[in-house]
């Protein structure tokens, strides 16, 4: 009797697990399958492509689409944003986690509050400003507004990581004659490297996925980032949406992120949940 109910229970649990995985992966799988269909049977709804074809991928890298350039733009914008945000955030987060000073709680609250800010509220005025000073279609016009969400995200994540490290580490270093600066550089930074790395990944993904800023600040195809470029892919005629190549490009933009996520899943989960559960 009991074994039967436990069997039922574990069966139900596995069904639940499968449902969760299916829910998460099915749409992504559909993107992958559609991208591998030849253009002629793109509207096929079978679960596996009858013929695997890389036509769509070739179409993505057709020089007329300028997709290679868009990938490069994305890499530059997201990369520089991440590096700048991490650079500033490491110092600030260290102060937030380790030093005692006035208004600390208020300052951290303000920084976190900024990350919840509607991006459009800064895009509208900055669009006008950047139009006036001729910054439209430049990298800095995308990097500067991106700092508004990347920096708070990085500060918040890193503060949690630094807070998890025991105080005794620096105390020991300082007893051994290090200054606080040396303790930070020689003890804390190397030990916090995993945390810094995770924060970098999370920040990079956020910057890589940004759409509104990139859409507003560019009007030249050569300066668009990958998400904007893909959303503007054109088919042979105006009325034909090139779903095949859009799916292929979507796979290309997502796969690096998925690989990163799979490799570093443990750390990313720790980073994402750091703020919520202590």
């Amino acid at each position: 009797m009991t074994t039967l109910t436990t069997k039922w229970r574990s069966g139900l649990l596995y069904a639940g697990v499968i449902a969760v995985v299916a829910y998460c992966l099915a749409p992504f799988y559909w993107m992958l399958v559609s991208s591998l269909r030849p253009t002629t049977d793109i509207f096929d709804t079978s679960l596996f492509p009858s013929v695997v074809s890389f036509d769509n991928y070739r179409a993505v890298f057709d020089p007329a689409q300028g997709f290679g350039r868009a990938l490069l733009n994305s890499l530059v914008v997201a990369g520089i944003t991440t590096v700048l945000a991490l650079l500033l955030a490491t110092f600030t987060a260290y102060a937030m986690a380790r030093l005692e000073f006035r208004c600390k709680r208020l300052i951290l609250t303000l920084i976190i509050a900024t990350s919840m800010f509607p991006v459009v509220s800064i895009v509208v005025p900055l669009l006008k400003l950047f139009t006036d000073i001729g910054w439209i279609n430049t990298y800095q016009a995308m990097i500067v507004p991106s700092m508004s969400f990347a920096l708070p995200l990085a500060v918040w994540n890193l503060t949690t990581f630094f807070r998890q490290m025991p105080d005794e580490l620096e105390h020991a270093a300082m007893v051994d004659g290090c200054t606080r600066g040396q303790a930070f550089r020689k003890v804390i930074i190397p030990l916090a490297a995993p945390g810094i790395f995770t924060t970098a990944i999370i920040t990079f993904i956020a910057a890589w996925n940004e759409f509104l800023i990139a859409l507003s600040m560019t009007n030249k195809p050569g300066m668009q980032t990958a998400p904007v470029a893909i959303s503007k892919f054109t088919g042979a005629t105006t009325y034909e949406t090139p779903f095949g190549s859009q799916m292929a490009a979507g796979v290309l933009v997502t796969v690096p992120l998925v690989v990163m996520v799979l490799v570093f899943q443990r750390r990313i989960v720790a980073g994402l949940t750091a703020g919520a559960a202590k």
Partner: protein
């Protein structure tokens, strides 16, 4: 934000032990922090400076800009103006007039999307978390899978769902009849909600799972000995203890849903009445060089977001900053972190 009151800057180096228990710092830290105020200023000011430039200054600019009209025919003088005329609060007043229809439509769309998506995400997310928490085998696989919707860029997920919801797409094939999902109408709202919930429910699941994992097993054992049914255990133990994690997750989702842009913009399109959100409206006005109204809309959206965040923090007690300045994890106190945090919030 619930208690941003700063404890009176205790003289660094000799802290009285008579501080309220909830604010007690770990002992032995004070010496290390002597003279740290200047260093803190040095370390924190670059971030504050950058945020002032990229957030505060544009916000003030938007406030100022919202008081100006658009270039063009000046209705009072009849001349064509080369500069934007000062119109005072007219951009705001217009919301209550004829031009207000588009604003209120965007406002209700935004509110509708936020309420519906966050409610669905919370239900699905909590269910996912409970499943993942119970499952021992395959947990790594589930956790990897659950991160994938989060990692897919929103713009790409918009394209993906437009393909799924295409008139000849898989969604129609599955339900067996033709719905033109991406045309104007209520079904367009449904399409946006489905796509949004797919992408973000796993995120809530992840945060709730983290909250579940810190609940000690003993609590459940005690409840079982006392004869509590699984339903009662969930209602009286699990839910109260994951509430802090869940509230923070919901707050983040709300803030994110209120500024929704990418998904309806790509999935359905710009200037579509049934899915236009406030962000889309402001961006559309700005890209048509109507900076005055655009700024007014973005200021109103900002206020709306601010009020919702305030309501979360004040009414529900969502605590964002956690243990700031409170000595981190290893503090003595209640064995259940969530409980400890709850008492802190209410003080």
């Amino acid at each position: 934000m619930a208690d941003t009151k700063i404890p009176p800057a205790a003289p660094v180096g000799k802290r009285e032990p008579s501080e309220p228990a909830s604010r007690r710092r770990t002992r032995g830290r004070s010496r290390a922090t002597a003279g740290s105020a200047r260093m803190a200023a040095l370390l924190v000011s670059p971030t504050l400076l950058v945020l002032t430039i990229v957030v505060l200054y544009p916000t003030l600019m938007a406030l100022n800009e919202s008081l100006y009209g658009t270039k063009g025919l000046d209705p009072e003088t009849g001349f064509i103006s080369a500069t934007e005329p000062f119109v005072g609060l007219r951009n705001y007043a217009d919301i209550f007039g004829e031009a207000g229809e588009r604003f209120w439509n965007a406002f209700w769309n935004t509110t509708f999307f936020t309420v519906v998506t966050v409610a669905l995400e919370t239900l699905i997310g909590v269910a996912m978390a409970l499943i993942m928490h119970k499952a021992f085998r395959g947990r790594g696989l589930v956790r990897a899978g659950i991160l994938i919707p989060w990692a897919v860029p929103t713009a790409i997920s918009g394209l993906l769902w437009r393909w799924i919801f295409n008139s000849d797409g898989i969604a129609n094939a599955l339900i067996g009849h033709q719905v033109l999902w991406t045309t104007e109408g209520f079904h367009a709202k449904v399409a946006v909600i489905v796509a949004e919930v797919w992408k973000t429910a796993p995120f809530i699941g992840l945060l709730v799972l983290a909250g579940l994992q810190v609940i000690p097993k003993e609590v459940y054992e005690a409840a079982r000995i006392d004869g509590a049914s699984p339903a009662r255990q969930f209602w009286h133990i699990t839910l109260p203890l994951v509430k802090p994690a869940l509230l923070v997750a919901m707050l983040f989702r709300c803030m994110d849903a209120l500024r929704m842009f990418d998904l309806p913009y790509i999935l359905i399109g710009a200037q579509k009445h049934s899915v236009e959100t406030l962000s889309m409206l402001a961006q559309n006005e700005a890209s048509n060089v109507r900076f005055g109204p655009a700024s007014a809309y973005s200021v109103l959206l900002f206020l709306y977001v601010f009020l919702v965040a305030l309501a979360f923090v004040r009414l529900l007690g969502a605590d964002l900053t956690g243990d700031v300045g409170a000595g981190g994890r290893k503090r003595k106190g209640s064995r259940i972190p969530a409980l400890r945090r709850r008492t802190e919030v209410t003080t």
